[in-house]
């Protein structure tokens, strides 16, 4: 059974290789092949899952050693896989949601002549992501980490003829590089500290290492997580990444790849447990991003960018929970899974709306679509209820647990984190209600586009609606299945140790508070966007609104600090290079040249003057010899 693990990765990898190398003759069947291989990976995942459930909780991890990758003396890197409960959760999420999105893409990309290539990239992504979560050492994880980065780059820039998409792809790649440097430094630190980077030995001996080193490793891992998961300060790429096709936004930039940072932190739990300072920074990053993303999401009129802000904010919740230690790890992963369902569903819904509206993304030009797209409306609506934490749906179970855990952190920190998560829940309810009302309610505001085509909103084909329906099922029931009776926590407990947090106020009070702030958020949004007509042209808005529309000035900040600062830095370095470094080199050359110019005057062609130097030299030598002898 263990030998099946490699097949999980092999299937989509084969798909990527065949589709990308196969050429045009595969255009007709490429999408079916890609979908089939993703689905077969999901089936293998299910088989392994069933096998895993059949064994006792402590005996569930499976290992497969494929071959020795880089054996150099004490440096041993293996291609080896580890499939434990945590990896299993991810495998099912990646292959399950991945397969649904493959199916969706068949319809969504129907008119794109490069559809085969698109499916090749999607398969490549699935393979790389599976490698990331199945690796049994950090180096192989890094390999997968870079692989998903590559797939993300290729897919964001899939419509490369649009300059905005090409730029967004480059931006995502570059910002991710910053985080990747963090991961590579963390791996180097691990190697110098532990002499290995396999999960087992590193995590087991984490407790016996000095806290300073663990804090350094933890912070570097956090930097990596910030890059991949779009957390402050490396968040700026996610909004632009929405230039990619919508299925890509759903799969990579909502459900799976962006949660790799959470996986990394939870996987490295033992390191973070022994480094409280690093954990504190993790929670702070999570809390800041949670509010940051939520505020950005409130101001965007582009439906995908509003959802991107929401993704950032929800991952902020997960990172925050992961920073809380054993009281939060399981809930971080649980929210990750439920978020995978409802956010993928929401993105697919947004894609369906765009599909019916001539690819219009401005929500101010939607309105009243519920009558034209009933299936999209219902599935999107269920996803909406799930994300705002409507009691009984999946977001409610997972988010409520995170809020409880935040309060249970204890002390002033606990109160602050709890308040931030509650505030985040209120803002989430606000911006999601805004999206919902602007898109599906009110009167229709659509206009002919630049080419004079009147949009004819219509329901999307079956290949698109069926994945949306299935994801909507997940959005509704996943939370209950996981949350009731602590099933999910029990399942993950052998991997990520679990402690029950004890919030200073009763769990019931926190739940009521969560529901109350949600109702307030929904209410405010209803007053603003439900009772009054939505203007087609965005009003100027307050200072905060305008800042939020510009992503809270993140690009301006990056430009001012890193671009301008970097330019100044390089200019001054060029100056130093020209004046100091070149000065030394050129000065040496000029000095030698001048000296030799003088020395060559000695070559005057008079034999007698050469004889004088010979005699003089001999005299000096004899004198020196005699002197030495006398001394």
């Amino acid at each position: 059974m263990d030998n099946l693990i490699a097949l999980l990765i092999a299937a989509p990898l084969l798909g990527a290789a065949v589709l990308l190398c196969g050429g045009r003759r595969l255009d007709k069947i490429g999408h079916w092949l890609g979908t089939l291989l993703a689905a077969s990976s999901f089936v293998i995942g299910l088989v392994l899952f069933a096998d895993m459930l059949g064994r006792s909780a402590d005996d569930r991890a499976m290992y497969q050693h494929l071959f020795s990758w880089i054996p150099v003396g004490g440096f041993q890197a293996d291609i080896a896989f580890q499939l434990d409960q945590l990896s299993m959760t991810f495998v099912l999420l990646i292959t399950g949601v991945g397969t649904l999105i493959h199916v969706y893409s068949i319809g969504y990309m129907e008119h794109d002549e490069r559809r085969r290539r698109f499916f090749g990239y999607l398969n490549l992504f699935v393979a790389a992501m599976l490698l990331l979560v199945l690796a049994d050492n950090y180096l192989l994880l890094y390999f997968g980490w870079e692989g998903v980065g590559l797939a993300s780059y290729l897919l964001i820039g899939f419509w490369q003829h649009k300059p905005s998409a090409a730029t967004a792809a480059k931006k995502a790649f570059l910002v991710n590089r910053v985080g990747d440097i963090g991961l590579s430094i963390a791996i180097m630190l691990m190697f110098t500290t532990f002499g290995t980077f396999a999960f087992g030995p590193v995590l087991e001996s984490a407790g016996e290492t000095s806290e300073g080193k663990l804090t350094a490793i933890g912070l570097m891992l956090l930097l990596a997580a910030c890059g991949k998961s779009a957390q402050v300060p490396l968040q700026s790429w996610l909004g632009d990444a929405m230039e990619g096709p919508t299925p890509v936004s759903a799969l990579i930039h909502a459900a799976t790849m962006v949660t790799a940072g959470v996986y990394l932190i939870v996987r490295s739990a033992d390191i973070f447990n022994a480094a409280p300072d690093a954990q504190l920074v993790v929670t702070v990053v999570g809390a800041v991003t949670l509010l940051f993303g939520a505020i950005v999401g409130c101001a965007k009129d582009d439906i995908k960018k509003a959802l991107a802000g929401s993704t950032m904010s929800q991952i902020g919740y997960m990172i925050l929970a992961a920073g809380l230690g054993p009281i939060g790890y399981a809930f971080a992963i649980m929210h990750l899974v439920t978020h995978g369902f409802f956010k993928a569903g929401l993105f697919l819904g947004a894609g369906s709306v765009m599909h019916g509206m001539n690819d219009e993304v401005d929500m101010r030009k939607y309105g009243g679509l519920r009558k034209y797209m009933p299936v999209t409306f219902v599935t999107f609506g269920l996803g909406y209820l799930a994300i705002i934490g409507f009691p009984g749906l999946s977001g409610f179970f997972s988010k409520d647990k995170i809020i409880e855990a935040a309060f249970a952190k204890g002390g002033t920190e606990g109160w602050i984190l709890g308040a931030v998560t509650l505030l985040g829940a209120a803002i989430t309810a606000y911006y999601m209600t805004r999206v919902m009302l602007m898109t599906f309610f009110g009167e229709k505001r659509w206009q002919p586009d630049a080419e004079g085509r009147e949009p004819h909103p219509h329901e999307s084909p079956k290949s698109m609606t069926i994945p949306m329906v299935l994801l909507a099922f997940g959005s509704v029931f996943a939370g209950g299945v996981f949350g009731i009776g602590d099933r999910f926590v029990t399942w993950l407990e052998p991997v990520t140790a679990f402690e029950h947090g004890h919030p200073p106020i009763s769990a019931g009070a926190i739940t009521s508070a969560t529901v109350a702030v949600m109702v307030i958020g929904v209410g405010i949004a209803y007053l603003q966007y439900g009772r009054r007509p939505v203007p087609v042209v965005a009003p100027r808005g307050s200072l905060l609104t305008r800042a939020a529309r510009r992503d809270l000035l993140q690009d301006d900040f990056n430009h001012a600090v890193f671009v301008t600062g970097g330019t100044h830095l390089t200019r001054s370095l060029v100056y130093v290079d020209h004046s100091l470094v070149d000065g030394v080199v050129n000065g040496t050359a000029a000095g030698v040249g001048g000296l030799s110019g003088r020395l060559r005057k000695l070559q005057n062609g008079y034999v007698r003057s050469y004889a004088v130097s010979m005699f003089g030299g001999t005299a000096v030598l004899i004198a020196a010899t005699l002197l030495m002898r006398a001394v």
């Binding site: 070559q603 062609g605 008079y606 034999v607 007698r608 004889a611 005699f615």
Partner: protein, 99 residues
């Protein structure tokens, strides 16, 4: 007679030869001064041989004579051919190889 006097003579001859090499321009005279220096050395060798009571210095003197004879052959040939091509025996005129 004190053999050291021969050494003084050798030093004097050597100095005369050296000064001649340095200050004269005529290649033939310079050449003769070189011979003078060589023979000053020979005289010193023979004197030392006498002072130390072994024959090493005398043998070296013979070697020197042979070398000097060979040098005369080569050197005079060079001087003659330089004189033929440049119509001058001045060493200062043969400065073609200066920079």
């Amino acid at each position: 007679m004190n053999p050291v006097n021969y050494l003084y003579l050798a030093a004097l001859l050597f100095t005369i030869g050296a000064v001649g090499v340095l200050i004269r321009r005529n290649a033939i005279v310079v050449f003769m001064c070189v011979e003078l220096m060589l023979n000053a050395c020979n005289l010193a060798f023979v004197t030392f041989s006498r002072m130390h009571g072994n024959l090493d210095g005398q043998i070296v003197a013979f070697f020197t004579m042979v070398v000097a004879a060979a040098e005369v052959v080569v050197g005079l040939a060079i001087i003659v051919s330089v004189f033929r091509s440049r119509h001058s025996a001045s060493v200062d005129d043969a400065g073609l190889m200066k920079l």
